[in-house]
Symmetry: C2
Subunit: 165 residues, 2 copies
């Protein structure tokens, strides 16, 4: 653990450093989304579809409400995306067994194929970045990102993460 107290060098907390961090986030997020975006624009889908597919893939059988909460959008906005994905046969929406009001979402084979395609593209960049930066940098990267999340989002993040601890 890094010490956070007294004698520590606090130069990493100057406004200038913080501004650089803000810019790094901005530029990096652009890179982060660039590869899947390129794939998506060749079809009739956008980033919103990618996000839905990603989280359905990560939590098969998740309900619409849960997905809503993860994605942080309105049900109308999500519904529009989900409808096209169901119509196009990428997502299957099954009525809940115990509670029939709920819809449980699954990727079809075609949906899974697209997920893999998008996720591969994104992971290639992540893997290269991770490898170039090294394991310690990656640990730091994740620590800072986790601290940057809203508490609610952090819970979602940790819930999904608890797959391999």
């Amino acid at each position: 653990m890094t010490s956070r107290s007294s004698g520590d060098d606090l130069l990493f907390l100057t406004d200038e450093k913080l501004r650089q961090g803000i810019e790094a986030m901005f530029f990096a997020y652009r890179g982060f989304t660039a590869d899947p975006d390129r794939i998506l624009e060749t079809m009739a889908y956008g980033r919103a579809h990618h996000r839905a597919i990603h989280f359905i893939s990560r939590s098969p059988g998740t309900t619409v409400n849960n997905l809503l909460s993860i994605l942080g959008v309105t049900k109308q906005s999500l519904n529009r995306v989900l409808r096209t994905l169901v119509e196009d046969g990428l997502v299957e929406s099954r009525v809940g067994k115990s509670d029939k009001r709920e819809r449980h979402l699954f990727l079809t084979e075609a949906g899974d194929a697209l997920e893999k395609k998008l996720s591969d593209a994104q992971r290639v960049r992540m893997r290269t970045a991770y490898r170039n930066a090294g394991p310690e940098a990656v640990a730091g990267f994740r620590a800072v990102l986790e601290q940057m999340m809203d508490a609610k989002m952090r819970r979602h993040y940790q819930a999904i993460r608890e797959k391999d601890v």
Copy 2:
């Protein structure tokens, strides 16, 4: 420097870890923009205005073309944002001295005040995250982000960064 070769433990490069990194970026970016977004939605501005204001503040006198290249949008899109900022007296656009085709962009006092307000909100979160994670984590965070950028964006990032090295 962290070693990148042979005997190293490569568990940080598993697909599962990479997926977690992808989700961390997604959730963290939401947190990253949340605070300024809350301020912006009380006025007639959005995230696009914030970005313009941020980079004009960082590089006073920058040209429209340079800003275009940093933000990665079309001139029509930027122009819409810039026009409202100039109309509202937050940004000043001065005809270039040596090349009169160029417009150099500056924040007015009012623009600077808004920049500070937005940037303060964003930095509070960054500072807390940085402090909680510690200096080494921050170094790793920035190393990974830098690796994640497109080469072109990395050049912009480094150009701005070279203010305090």
